[in-house]
Assembly symmetry: C2
Homo-oligomer: 344 residues x 2
Amino acid sequence: MPEDPPNSAPAHGPTIYEVARRAGVSIATVSRALRDTGPVAPRTRAKVLAAVEELRFTPSRLGVSLAEGRHAANGIVFPDLSGPYYAEVVLGYEEVASELGRSVIILSARGRSNVRDQVKDLAGRVDGLVVFGHTVDDATVRELMAAGLPVVLLARAPIAGADLVASENIATAGVLTEHLLGHGYRDLTMLGASTGDDIGERWAGVTRALSAHGLTAGPPVPCEFTVDGGLAAGRDLLRRRTRPEAVICADDQVALGMLLAAEELGLDVPGDLAVTGWDDIMAARHARPALSTVRQPMRELGARAARALDELITGARATTRHQTLATELVVRTSCGEHPPQEDL
Amino acid sequence: MPEDPPNSAPAHGPTIYEVARRAGVSIATVSRALRDTGPVAPRTRAKVLAAVEELRFTPSRLGVSLAEGRHAANGIVFPDLSGPYYAEVVLGYEEVASELGRSVIILSARGRSNVRDQVKDLAGRVDGLVVFGHTVDDATVRELMAAGLPVVLLARAPIAGADLVASENIATAGVLTEHLLGHGYRDLTMLGASTGDDIGERWAGVTRALSAHGLTAGPPVPCEFTVDGGLAAGRDLLRRRTRPEAVICADDQVALGMLLAAEELGLDVPGDLAVTGWDDIMAARHARPALSTVRQPMRELGARAARALDELITGARATTRHQTLATELVVRTSCGEHPPQEDL
DNA sequence: CAGCAAAGTGGAAGCGCTTACAGTCAGCGT
DNA sequence: ACGCTGACTGTAAGCGCTTCCACTTTGCTG
């Protein structure tokens, strides 16, 4: 690392001092003129603005933030973001945060060992933080909250004292299950084992719906939550002596892998096998057979989180709140034949 | 907006002063002990660390940055990010930036009128900026560069003095065209009019390849760069008296829409019509027929941009550099039948 | 044992801005 | 003509940290 000279003038722009000198006023006046935070004579203001213009002055955020004691920035920690799901949520978040005048600093936790340190660093740069999924251990989250940092949890298990925004899983999993039962399937398999998170909730919903019909299913089959994971698990599953009638996949990527596996083995979906996903990512609509799945309001999840965080930061709300957004079963063709109707 | 009292103790954590007092040393010593930037006696260091531990002290980034004169953060401005393409690039960027010890502040330009102001604010928060596509007008970019801010351009037209990272378009467009010609198609249609950007380059490549064979094509057909745009344009195009033999779409989303249109009209792809995309987004692999397309190294684009920016910021490199990343034709089935072979 | 260098430490000056607080001045009421 | 009020403006004290410098202490070398 090239040790650059101590005072190598970081090429930063002009400071408020230069503007003040040029306008022939004090820095206090410049500040007031710019933020309209006190009386400034019209003539003076004009001089200041002229100087600002000539120097192309933009106040240093650092200086402003240090003096104001706030960052005007929010952070978000997300799991992988590789798939389309997380990206959409982050986008929805950024959109609203931006409207609220806050920058967004992102931190991906994908395969990082030092997330804890990175999160703590991040915490020092923002006025509030969104923790997406189980990317940060509870102890760290509590510590941040204890330090006075507003935190909003997104799509994960709650923590006392923190806001939570999540989408509904259990009920819709029930609806999905009922739908499959309606097709006449009785032997359902859950693909993608997981507990304590949204996927665990989905399985709970499925199980509950089944038992309401006096049915049971085996435990969820382990599977990595990727297309390749679904493909591998699918190959394995479909070559067994007794093939399931329907496979409920933990998410769309797994389901897409499953579709690939079925195709590879010459099985017809939904003829020989029904498959469902969860999320309704873009590829779900375009797969053939088109994937039946559950749509999550991804952008809305992010947007809600941004608003909730803003309320916490500005102090507009002091109590914590849990929001659950409705999800919707999207019936396409991978789960079985349906009377023709408009949908895609 | 609730005007909170001037000194409402922002609940910020302990400062270096409190640590110093508790450890019975000066703040200078605390700083040295923490950053290992000067001699500190073992005993002293221990005391400091103990105090840090007890107080759960984390240095304020604001203070550090202001004193250091750097943010340890990078910005990235991207167009829409709705599709999978931009998200991947941003991810690749974040990953590398994070490794290099820099936070990433994102700014989406989607449908915003005040991008210019937002970018200038962003510029004040970072040590360098990546401008993705034509999200920021050239004048503003130049202004930022003139102010000494390192800038890396991503997937867009170059600007003198700024680094550029882009993926190859022209040559691969030629390869794609040759491939289609190899299938025997002569009547090719370009879908998605655009000039002066990467899509414009693709059309240039296609046109050049065609003329090398003494062929020509009509001008690119206008079309919004979304699935629905492709669908609408496809309906229109395929109902004309003379249907094209092959449609080269500006990107995968348009191509997916085209596929939908063909399906809707009962046309067989590739039997009645060949379709190609560009980007190789996830859905391209899963569509049926699977979409032939051109793969862009999306993550790598972002990663390169991050590294280039880092070089500029640290001063490891002073000259500007243009990097073009290779792209690859991915032959699937939407462009015609091929002898069976391994690929997906 | 004087004389020095090195190690360890504290003081204090910024970094760029916001914002009490304290002046300065002109216009008014009486 | 004189104090008073307001409108303006400047001074200076932070915000939390890094780091240059100067000053003490050792620990050794001649």
